[in-house]
Symmetry: C2
Subunit: 544 residues, 2 copies
């Protein structure tokens, strides 16, 4: 099944907003219904394929037949950009300027190498395509003629080593299928990002993904033990041991390379036994500051829950106000009856934290009881398992909610960062203020919500959700706010992305974060592995 071409996920799961919510959006945020009728896929008219027949023939030979090189309009449209809100807004008005020439579907590592050779010979750029879920412009290269390299045929579980607890996965394997196949053997990967339903193993690796259970299972980059990379200059294999002192860690150089260094064709991951028990519960804190201190305490001194997150006052209120209507719980908020542009509410709702425990019954019980002592000592009040279950139930639904919001003329987008603990409060205020001020000045005071979604001993991530009215040109209207948020992130000492990645959207800020010499080192690697600049040109690194 393919994802909705102009939105998120399974078309059958799309649901309109209740009229009451639409009315509130109108009254409180000034959201107006869209004046233009929605376009259908058939309304879009892609430009003709200009790649030469010889190039397409070479591609077909590389992947074992022309049935694996698709040039039909629908296939090309479905591989145009990713799933950021600007991506959706653009395609909804028929803007498919970033459309690929063709969609190429290799069946294995050697076919990927052959595709890269064919593209080098014919001057085509290559965009590796997993689930197509990038929200940072990672699928929109800055070069005219390119093909999308869709890895869906490379979707196997190649090996499972129960002694070492490792599994070898192909990059096009989607997360739910990877889980299902590991579950059959009694194991789990434990990687559950919000993109879970559609994202792929290769995409997780290429973009340094982090899942909602990262407190317990770690980030995806911490799960990866070995990688194979197909590049225009050949194959790079890395990872002979969990850890090594044999030079710089090449794995950590491939992870996060976003298709700019090569195509990841195999990922060896750490697996864990399926947990005996899972329990998720809610805790209430008077303030985001108090809750943050409690999370820090658990992250630093333990016991570490498997899931640990904390919504700020606004997100908590929204979640409590409309949990059923919008089905998102506190995960990514929604649009409820609060005034836009307001600061954090200091009312009775406080801040909701979710703690989750997965593991053996004994270990889960021990950690849960001890964590409860810590959270209580930090001012928390348990609110039972209902908020936890509600969060777990709605953990993947926020992107569907976004579609419904866009449908009624609202704007909704997310962005995220991370920093060391001592900077979290300042970073929170800086980004929130930047978003609120910019959009308010532009005439669309927003609702800005935030949660801590990932914790470490030394810091945490902040995940912001913004809902407002759409401007006249919604993409252009949003750009200054995103720009201001990015500037605020760097100024307050945060990283430009904790788990969404760089793509093209964050590239200019990433270049500043990495510094000229860091970028220079990365470009040196890129030039060596991809001397013709075929791979995702302009993604991660500037092309010039």
């Amino acid at each position: 099944m393919d994802m909705l071409w102009n939105g998120w996920g399974d078309p059958a799961k799309a649901a309109p907003l209740p009229d009451t919510v639409t009315g509130l959006l109108r009254d409180l945020l000034g959201v107006k219904p869209r004046s233009t009728p929605a376009l259908g896929l058939a309304d879009l008219r892609p430009p003709a394929v200009t790649a030469r027949p010889a190039a397409l023939k070479a591609l077909a030979e590389a992947v074992g037949g022309e049935e694996h090189v698709r040039t039909d309009a629908e296939s090309r449209i479905r591989h145009t950009r990713g799933k950021s809100t600007p991506d959706l807004l653009r395609i909804r008005v028929g803007d498919i300027a970033d459309i690929p020439q063709a969609v190429v579907l290799p069946a294995g590592h050697d076919e990927v190498l052959a595709v890269l050779r064919a593209c080098a010979a014919h001057g085509l750029a290559v965009v590796p395509f997993g689930g197509g879920t990038s929200v940072v412009g990672g699928l929109a290269p800055r070069r005219g003629m390119f093909v999308a390299l869709d890895l869906r045929r490379m979707n196997g579980l190649l090996d499972l080593d129960p002694v070492s607890r490792t599994a070898v996965l192909q990059p096009g394997l989607r997360a739910p299928e990877a889980e299902r196949r590991l579950n059959e053997h009694g194991y789990t990967l434990g990687h559950f990002p919000q993109s879970f339903e559609w994202a792929t193993i290769g995409g997780f690796a290429a973009a340094r993904s982090s899942g909602q259970a990262s407190a317990g299972y770690g980030r995806f980059d911490e799960m990866v033990l070995a990688l194979t990379l197909a590049t225009p200059q050949g194959t790079l294999d890395t990872g002979r041991a969990p850890r090594s002192a044999a030079g710089p860690d090449l794995r950590q150089f491939i992870l996060g390379s976003e298709g700019a260094f090569g195509v990841i064709t195999s990922v060896t991951v750490r697996i864990r036994p399926l947990p005996e028990t899972r329990v998720y519960e809610g805790w209430r804190f008077d303030s985001f500051q108090e809750g943050t201190a409690a999370l820090r305490r658990l992250a630093q001194d333990g016991p570490r829950p498997t899931v640990l997150r904390l919504s700020d006052e606004t997100e908590t209120l929204i979640g409590l106000a409309q949990p059923d209507a919008i089905g998102a719980g506190p995960e990514q908020g929604g649009a409820g009856p609060e005034q836009g542009g307001a600061g954090p509410e200091e009312g009775g709702a406080g801040c909701l934290a979710i703690t989750g425990y997965e593991g053996t019954a004994e270990d889960t019980a021990y950690r849960r009881a001890r964590a409860a002592d810590v959270l209580t000592a930090c001012g928390g009040t348990p609110t039972g398992t209902e908020p936890g279950e509600r969060w777990a139930h709605g953990r993947y639904s926020a992107p569907y909610l976004r579609d419904a919001l866009l449908d009624v003329g609202a704007f909704a987008e997310t962005l995220e960062t991370a920093a060391f603990w001592s900077r979290i409060s300042e970073l929170y205020t800086a980004v929130r203020t930047a978003l609120t001020d910019t959009l308010t000045r532009a005439g669309t005071p927003p609702l800005v919500m935030c949660h801590i979604s990932h914790v470490y001993e030394n810091g945490a991530s902040l995940y912001f959700t913004v809902v407002s009215a759409q401007g006249e040109d919604p993409v252009a209207h949003w750009a200054p706010a995103k720009h201001a948020a990015n500037e605020a992130v760097l100024a307050a000492g945060g990283t430009i992305s904790h788990h969404h990645g760089v793509g093209t959207d964050h590239r200019d800020w990433y270049v500043r974060e990495a510094g000229p010499l860091g970028v220079s080192a990365l470009r040196a690697v890129k030039c060596r592995l991809d001397p013709d600049g075929l791979l995702n040109p302009g993604v991660l690194l500037p092309t010039d």
Copy 2:
């Protein structure tokens, strides 16, 4: 205080072997007394400094005065090579072919940059020098004229952030002093490798060090949150958050670069509260295989001790036979009354495991009790805290023992590797056999001991100690055995080094492990940051 110029550590701690041990070495391994008298430091005659006066003047200007550029014989000799057994054997016979032109002592990051500029201008190579404890030839560049960049003046604790639990340390800070200063604030780094007494923070980072408490505190590369690197092309700063999705992890590219990419001038590390309690104890297993399975069980399912190690049958027997005489406990073995070249003993001693727990009293008690259940279920028998205390007491003494062994004409060296759990047994046998067969064929049947010193969910390290008689030319005599062990490591799927590093000794095998494209990518970075090839030429990467 400087380390012994021709051996390890504090000269006051040196102690000769008891005559009984010397006798046993003679009778069982054929060790003969050295026929030549030991040389004194004053007997060594360094070649004249050939660097031009203008170069030395430029260096003096870079570091604020000629008192910080040392060209006296003793300073140069003390910066000649590191502390591998071949290093010691060479310098003991007066071979100082790898002597630097001068020892340069910068006081800070800017002075390091100035030194690099001066060296570039005058065609001098640069070897960053921390504690001088490399055991892989990391201080012996393959280029004639070089200076040793001794970082001892850069030994400060620059910042401590109790909220984020981070500390900023300078590279020349020695580990005991770093611990002492952190301890004053109630914190610990938790990094205790065998080189602890002499090694520096910068060296730990450059060589991807791993300490004896890595099961609890992690490897040094896992403790590092930010780094500053001075290169001939300027400064690289990295690390704005504990984790990030903003591109490849540049920190993990600097870690393990062994001075070949730049000089690490600042290291931000994770710190932890000083533990309330520490308890170390012993467990007996019937066989190395059984003990390995028990360690794997704890590493994979927990609870995770802070220290977790397991000696094989031979190492256990040696440790039990002569614990007091040689002061090494089971850490690195010694030479006891066992026949050389024998296979693992299946006698009553079995295999000794050491488990250690550090933390709060409550957490330590819980982990210890549950780990005891697991170890018992895996066939282990507790042997009380005495073996644990003995191990802790002797944890840094093995290198002193080596000096004593070399003094009486024995050969003693260590090497180490790591692999995924499913390959550990084969790797163990392969390396053990390679060492035993090669040295036996050469007429010096060895005692080969091994322990697992570091465990991960997905694999472990193996640390081998070899003791035999010296050959006629001890360095040349050892070379084929080391070569055979390296070949065995690669053939059995291990990494060429788990924590000693690459240096020059492992370089040819490292090149095979990283593969041509991996090496090509590393060289691209090296060329960009160090275009003139000034930095540690031939260390980590080949020069041609």
